[in-house]
């Protein structure tokens, strides 16, 4: 059994042979990843069901299809992405080639999370492969069935010399991080992120962090209550609320809340029927520990449960729950909920709601529901978050052309689509000079003279048309 440092040394040796550089190799690996997804759909669905009671529909939609689409997107565009980017030359570099090349970092580490255990490790992997890196994958040990499946399938489909799955718990991850990587990609919690960042800082390793946060959901102005409620319920209770971009809490006026509650009840019934616990379309909480933590938060809340509230420990089930009369000091407002509990805070004015959100840490996403475009714009322009979506939730992260990432406490860096490729690439400026124009270049040499300086000053100053020598 190889030790971590042996694995990394092996991957580094492979990387030095430059085997991951040619387009053809990268395409072959991506194609193999696609085959992995297509040929093992049933097993993947089963593993996700074991881990999170994930309904097949959700597993296919939010895990398999997302990975498949991103792989195809990468395969279709990789040739273009790999081309050197030519930049404008100027007077002195007219005969020179000035380009920006995208080069791989080397051996990267990708640490996944348990809530979307497949997507959160494979989407970054697509970027790492496309950019020409070797990779160590560390799936979350909490979603055990998926971890086991990945450990089995990845070596079967992808080059074992370039991509390795490492399993283990928190202690193993800590040991793994003592090694030097060329980039670390982490999805998970803020507390762990801090220690990862510190471990990386010792080696001067760049890090991408995808963390969470309390995603606020504004509802102000005119609202199509039925559609709003449907989209809110879908986004909130998908994966039983265990999404980093699920709406965490709602901010609205008392009047809106009173109209919203029946609409939510209606949507819940339409989606999950009257016997929610038996509905196969609802997931479960990932572990007993997480379940207890959620119930504890709910228990400590001073709000009133108006929808749901039922739970069963054995099944790790919590019903889709809505809590009202919650204020900023409530137990439900101290940390990210990450479960099917939706607090509604009433604030009579949009400005009050915006000011409230701005006192809190920046979240990974932020939602605004309104039929009034001015309200949407006001929220967009006066708040800060990783991403923003108007009149829906979660969907903004499914478009590969949009960067998905956080800011401040919700993370640093981004990925998806071409952004993944850029995250795992180093942009190397390259100037290929010729021997020509040495007479021009010679003006810079000592012994310095005032006349040379005047000439250089004239020639090098950028003008309105952005023409410059240096």
């Amino acid at each position: 059994m190889e030790s971590h440092s042996e694995v990394i040394a092996r991957l580094r040796a492979t990387f030095c042979t430059k085997v991951t550089i040619p387009l053809q190799f990268r395409l072959t690996q991506l194609k193999a990843l696609l085959a992995l997804m297509e040929e093992n759909e049933a097993q993947i669905v089963e593993a996700l069901h074991k881990d999170l009671a994930k309904p097949k529909f959700e597993a296919v939609l939010s895990e398999i299809d997302m990975v498949r689409n991103d792989v195809c997107h990468a395969m279709n565009n990789l040739k273009t992405w790999m081309e050197p980017e030519y930049v404008a030359t100027n007077l002195a570099t007219k005969f020179d080639d000035c380009t920006i090349r995208r080069e791989p970092f080397g051996v990267v580490l990708i640490i996944g999370a348990w809530n979307y255990p497949l997507q959160l490790i494979l989407l970054p992997l697509i970027g790492a492969i496309a950019a020409g890196n070797c990779a160590v994958l560390k799936p979350s040990e909490i979603s055990q069935a998926t971890e086991k499946l990945l450990a089995e399938l990845i070596p079967k489909y992808l080059s074992q010399e370039c991509y390795v799955v490492v399993c283990g718990g928190a202690e193993d991850t800590k040991k793994l991080l003592e090694n030097q990587f060329d980039h670390i990609f982490y999805t998970g919690s803020q507390s762990v992120a801090r220690s990862i960042l510190q471990a990386a800082a010792v080696h001067l390793t760049p890090v991408t962090l995808e963390l969470g946060g309390k995603t606020p959901c504004f509802m102000y102005g005119r609202l199509d209550m039925k559609t709003t409620a449907k989209r809110l319920v879908w986004a909130k209770y998908f994966n039983l609320g265990q999404s980093c971009v699920a709406p965490d809490y709602v901010l609205c006026t008392a009047e809106t809340r009173d109209a919203l509650l029946p609409a939510i009840r209606e949507a819940l019934e339409a989606f999950y029927g009257t016997d929610l616990q038996r509905c196969p379309d609802l997931g479960r909480i990932v572990t007993d520990k997480h379940w207890s933590h959620l119930m504890d938060m709910l228990g400590k809340s001073k709000g009133k449960v108006v929808i749901g509230g039922e739970s069963t420990r054995e099944e790790k089930y919590i019903a889709p729950t809505v809590v009202v009369d919650v204020d900023g000091t409530d137990a439900l407002m101290q940390e990210e909920i990450f479960g099917p509990i939706l607090p509604i805070l009433t604030m009579e004015s949009l400005q009050e709601a915006i000011d409230f959100v701005n006192t809190k840490e920046k979240a990974l996403a932020l939602y605004a529901f309104s039929d009034d475009p001015k309200i949407v714009t006001t929220v967009l322009e006066n708040t800060c978050s990783g991403g923003f979506c108007a009149n829906d939730g979660i969907v903004h992260m499914t478009l590969p052309s949009l960067p998905f990432g956080g800011i401040g406490a919700s993370g640093m860096g981004c990925y998806h689509g071409r952004w993944s490729y850029e995250t795992f690439s180093h942009k190397r400026a390259s100037v290929l000079r010729s021997w020509a124009l040495e007479r021009v270049g010679a003006f810079r040499y000592p012994p310095y003279s005032d006349s040379n300086l005047s000439w250089l000053r004239w020639a090098t100053t950028t003008k309105k048309s952005s023409c410059s020598i240096m």
Binding site: R68, A201, D392, H396, A429
Partner: protein, 506 residues
């Protein structure tokens, strides 16, 4: 406030190893900024940011214009300050510091509107009726820690990016160039908004504490050792960093090259700024056949540039301080053989432009980090050997290759990794606003200049603006989950490899 008692340094100066406050006249207050005052400035900058002052284009343009005027109107003051700090000739100050800053400011002014515009992105079937775009937003309040190697440029070029991106900024020019730091400290408040932009004069030992005050981004340029400390401090508070660090930049000289032009370009790149530029070639890997000719050509170039006694030349600089001088002097005495130069003068912090030969890989000059006018010339038998040598070492800021053979250039470029690459010249790629300048691996992370400065100080916020009128195909995603709906969505989202775009329905 730090009160100066007779013959006693203030607390901040004491922490940085001084017995007296260095830059004060009798009775004056110490200019050093302690962490307490930094916290105060950060608070003011944050309040200014929250007020929305930096949001609009006009404000940013006015501030950029002010930076440009500052540099233009005080050219003499900058020339004077840099002469005192680094014995920098006026020519070098104007060309490699002031003009560079002016050009960056103008480049930003010319392009700001374009950079600030939201970028529309490619949509798919289900978002066809929505607005999908990436909006560039400022990060908030950022910290710029400048290096002494290019004390004006390494503060003001990132500042331009931070201003353009709409941030508030706290700038810490390097204390090692005391006159330049004081000049910036004195002048910037007269040109820039006093609530949004602050200059602090913190000691090197106070940097970690300052970073832990919690900024939204930290930009650092300097040595690897200091960069690591800053990085660790930033990691403790989840602050993203950009690090532009020094490294050992290799320079390969092939058997096929224009030897005289090569020598001139290398000599200029190595010995300007008193040999203290982070992008200079640090050592030469010369093909064995070329060594004597290269050394001869370098000698000629140096004679033309600085005369037979560079100490008398008005075109030659000095080392920044006694500590750097001692380090450089020790290195040159303990490494290889001096074939030209080697003269030193401690009082003037002068080290002659020095060429070293017979240097081995293990010599101190090849390992220790230093900034000074020494150029070791090592020999290799082939391009392969040069590439192996370069790849055994940490990734540098720049790799240089001189050759008339494009295949050799290609090999050096493709088979090594570095922040940037330049063939048949040096340093120039670090002066162009349209190219990113930064490191990789041990030489740093992130890059700046031109648009890249704007990008590192911005957050790219993805925005999807939907309406509620049309439910379109999106209803297919709702429970109760239905195999038929799933097939429809899977079919719609499955890509053929030949198709150009991709299609996804939600």
């Amino acid at each position: 406030m730090n009160r100066l008692r007779k013959n006693t340094a203030c607390r901040s100066c004491q922490r940085n190893g001084r017995i007296t406050c260095r830059r004060t006249r009798q009775g004056d207050l110490c200019l050093k900024t302690g962490p307490g005052e930094c916290a105060e400035m950060l608070k003011r900058a944050r309040a200014a940011f929250l007020s929305g002052r930096t949001a609009n284009e006009c404000f940013r343009l006015a501030q950029l214009d002010a930076v440009m005027r500052l540099v233009f109107e005080h050219e003499c003051d900058f020339v004077d300050a840099l002469r005192r700090d680094l014995h920098k000739p006026r020519f070098e100050t104007v060309v490699s510091e002031l003009i560079l800053v002016k050009n960056e400011a103008l480049y930003a002014i010319n392009n700001l509107r374009k950079w600030m515009e939201p970028q529309s992105v490619e949509r798919n079937l289900s978002t066809a009726l929505d607005d999908c775009m990436v909006v560039s937003e400022p990060l908030g309040t950022v910290l710029i820690i400048g290096s002494w190697t290019n004390p004006v440029q390494l503060c003001l070029v990132p500042l331009i990016g931070a201003i353009a991106a709409g941030n508030c900024v706290v700038i810490n020019p390097s204390e090692h160039c005391a006159h330049t730091a004081e000049l910036l400290h004195r002048l910037l408040p007269s040109y820039l908004d006093n609530e949004c932009y602050h200059v602090v004069l913190a000691g090197t030992n106070d940097l970690s504490e300052m970073v832990e005050l919690k900024f939204d981004h930290v930009f650092f340029s300097g040595t690897r050792e200091e960069g690591t400390k800053v990085s660790l401090a930033a990691a403790r508070c989840l602050t993203p960093v950009t690090l532009v660090l020094s490294g050992k930049n290799p320079c390969y000289v092939d058997q096929m090259c224009d030897i005289n032009t090569t020598a001139r370009r290398i000599a200029w790149a190595r010995f300007h700024n008193g040999g203290q530029s982070p992008a200079s070639p640090d050592y030469v890997l010369c093909h064995a056949d070329m060594k004597e000719r290269l050394l001869q050509a370098l000698r000629c170039a140096l004679l033309i540039f600085y005369g037979s006694d560079p100490r008398e030349s008005r075109s030659y600089g000095r080392l920044v301080n006694a500590e750097n001088f001692s380090r450089v002097r020790d290195l040159l005495w303990r490494s290889g053989k001096v074939v030209m130069g080697g003269q030193v003068n401690e009082a003037e912090k002068y080290v002659a432009p020095t060429l070293l030969s017979d240097v081995s890989e293990t010599d101190p000059v090849m390992h220790q980090e230093y900034f000074g006018p020494i150029l070791p010339v090592l020999t290799v038998e082939s391009v392969d050997e040069a590439i192996t040598f370069i790849n055994k070492r940490d990734k540098p800021l720049c790799v240089y290759a001189y050759s008339s053979n494009s295949k050799v250039i290609s090999r050096l470029m493709n088979e090594t990794s570095s922040g940037s690459f330049c063939s048949n010249d040096s340093v120039l790629q670090s002066l162009m606003p349209c190219l990113p300048f930064g490191g990789v691996g041990q030489s740093g992370m992130g890059s700046f200049h031109g648009r890249y400065s704007f990008d590192i100080f911005s957050h790219k916020k993805s925005c999807l603006l939907r309406g509620t009128r049309i439910e379109c195909l999106t209803y297919l995603r709702y429970p109760p989950y239905d195999d038929r709906n799933l097939s429809l969505m899977t079919w719609a989202s499955s890509l053929t490899q030949k198709s150009q775009g991709w299609c996804q329905i939600l």
